[in-house]
Subunit: 212 residues, 2 copies
Amino acid sequence: MIRQAAAEIASPKSEKTEKTRDQLLEAGIALFSQQGYEGTSTRQIETQAGVQRNLMTYHFGSKEEFWKACTERVYERMRGFLGPAFTQSKDIEPGERVRFLIRRYVRASAAVPEFARIMFDEGRGNSWRLKWLVDQYTREFYETVADLFDDGRKRHMIPDIPLTNFYYLLVGSASIFSMATECDLLTGEDALSEAMIDAQADTIAKLLTIAD
Amino acid sequence: MIRQAAAEIASPKSEKTEKTRDQLLEAGIALFSQQGYEGTSTRQIETQAGVQRNLMTYHFGSKEEFWKACTERVYERMRGFLGPAFTQSKDIEPGERVRFLIRRYVRASAAVPEFARIMFDEGRGNSWRLKWLVDQYTREFYETVADLFDDGRKRHMIPDIPLTNFYYLLVGSASIFSMATECDLLTGEDALSEAMIDAQADTIAKLLTIAD
DNA sequence: TACTTGTTTTGACAAGTGACAAATTTCATT
DNA sequence: AATGAAATTTGTCACTTGTCAAAACAAGTA
């Protein structure tokens, strides 16, 4: 079940401290999602964050723990989009509900491209990070999609394809956003523009559901 | 245009030399596709290849050149699947041609999951590697898909969606194979099994084309 | 004031990185 | 067997990596 976040754990001792943590997290999210875990050094993160050396270790204990904190924030951001979408979908007629949620998921993926980037990045290997991501976030999301899928199939709103393929098509549809740089080089189009996001949402919603 | 490969450049001086190069390349492909460029060290490659230290530098000059050689072999492997598919598709009735090629592409992606892995990996950033991949391989492939798309649209075999979205849906459909580890953790299914490959090929072909 | 607590700064270190160069081996041809 | 080029092995370099530890600083409390 997708639900709203629990508040950040640490009590914000001081204003400045919170700012340091925040800048580190934002730098970490940007760099991890662009260069991967191994490709990003703690010093690079601190430099990009504009803070002194070793502050990451002090505030988060280790690179591993810091990475987890980064993914937490990213997933939180996804929840910030998906939670309200679920709430709103309750008021939508069943015939449109699946389509509505698919479109919202696509828009969320575009708003938080770091999420898909990290997922694609870690999904290929066998690291402790993959296990952690699946346990913490992916499993929960998968179950939600599975429920949605079952319901949609009962209502004959989803074509006759297996759940696994449905799921990875939906997830894989975010690849255009996570490969925005390549997309620009290839087509000259900005994958993260409003027009492209709409086009992608329209396309997936059309293909993954059955027209009335 | 997708065409058959040019032969490997180097004249195979001796049997053993060729074996060393081959083992290095195979190890490099496996490791680069699982851990990314920065996440893989030359010593790790040499260890996995079972050869002595520094032999990679000797045979390939540098890590950069070696990486290029690895991607060359991977793309060559993709061509080994796509080339014959194109040839065969000439004999297929136009109404089935697009569907046939889509299915073949999906099967190729499953047979060479390293290709999609590397593409997803590099597509997110802005490295010299991305530029090189696009110049060397991706552009050529994109043009091929674009031609196929135009033809399919004229014949009313492809739904009314933009080319860019069509392309990234097709490419993104390989994500299930490149995230095989995650898929196993999540669903218990082997994404690279014959059954799953078939299911994925069927699904994409069905969704991206219009039924007669 | 002195003391405590949380945070920042600086110094250091062992392990690992890619690359270079010289020493050594291998092996087909004389 | 002798030669010479290709291939392998070993040694080393300057640099980066993550982390630890101690020093310096700030701000509040007794």
